[in-house]
Symmetry: C2
Subunit: 146 residues, 2 copies
DNA sequence: TTAAACCCTAAACTATGGTTTAGAGCAAGC
DNA sequence: GCTTGCTCTAAACCATAGTTTAGGGTTTAA
């Protein structure tokens, strides 16, 4: 006989608060989870696979609504394979875009850190401040530095 | 004489709604922006540099509060260089973590897409469905597929 | 000189993704 | 059988990051 799991066991496994799992259920993300006579949620091994997918989509920034759409498609069986593929392909594009954004901006952050960490940081920053102050002064604008 | 810019020009340049710029100002992210006699915000060239930094931090997931802390440090001149470096170093760690998460989850998404795109996708999915149905049945749980 | 296009603030409103609370039932070990 | 710990729902609450609205002033170009 296979084992079943309580909401607490699932929560611990996925490092999610119990309240979040209930919230996901309320939002329709967990249609595959059964309840026992007492109204308790009963999770099976295969539910872990679905929840892992939900976490994967959540971790990559998919909104709850879209995750629900995906899960609903999954529950429709083989007829929805093409729609599922299209949905994930679109999502993959979004993830690649996110990676691009992180990559590009990380460069800028790294450059700034290097500037701050340089031997000469004080002079570099002084130069920047002077540039700003000169510009502000020439435009009759307030000096923003305190 | 150098040029100044209106809020609309800044908004267009950064592809941000005007309302967002006002919101950032209200949250203290734009202490370097002056106002004219009529109360209009007056942006200078060097403000674009600050705003670019704000966008960079925002694009990498830094909360408004922390961006404000960083900008406040910037306005304190050279005395805050070390604190700025520490703040950005911590943020860089967060960004690297985000990249890791995206990378790992993207693999899973790609795997799924490949499965859906495979010649044999229908049989693969049928197999998965059977596995779940067998398990649910053996546990006396409802069949989640419709 | 007047219409169109700007700009302003304050405050209300929205969306998203949860968390917390209240009130109550169920289960396990002593 | 009783306590402790688990479960449930519904509803209120929260944080974040804005957007929208109302009411009003300013600038520009015909």
């Amino acid at each position: 006989m296979k084992k079943t799991y309580s909401i607490k066991e699932v929560a611990d496994y996925f490092h999610l608060p119990i309240s979040t799992i209930r919230y996901y259920d309320k939002k329709g993300l967990l249609p595959f989870v059964s309840k026992n006579e007492a109204g308790y949620r009963v999770f099976s091994e295969s539910d872990f696979g679905f929840i892992k997918t939900i976490c994967c989509l959540k971790n990559t920034g998919m909104p709850i609504k879209d995750i629900r759409t995906y899960i609903d498609l999954c529950m429709q069986g083989t007829a929805s394979i093409q729609q599922r593929r299209e949905l994930l392909q679109q999502h993959k594009k979004n993830v690649l875009k996110q990676q691009q954004v992180l990559h590009d901006n990380l460069k800028e952050i790294t450059t700034k850190i290097q500037r701050y960490a340089s031997e000469d940081s004080v002079n570099i920053i002084k130069g920047q401040i002077n540039f700003v102050q000169d510009e502000k002064k020439s435009l009759n604008l307030e000096n923003p530095f305190k």
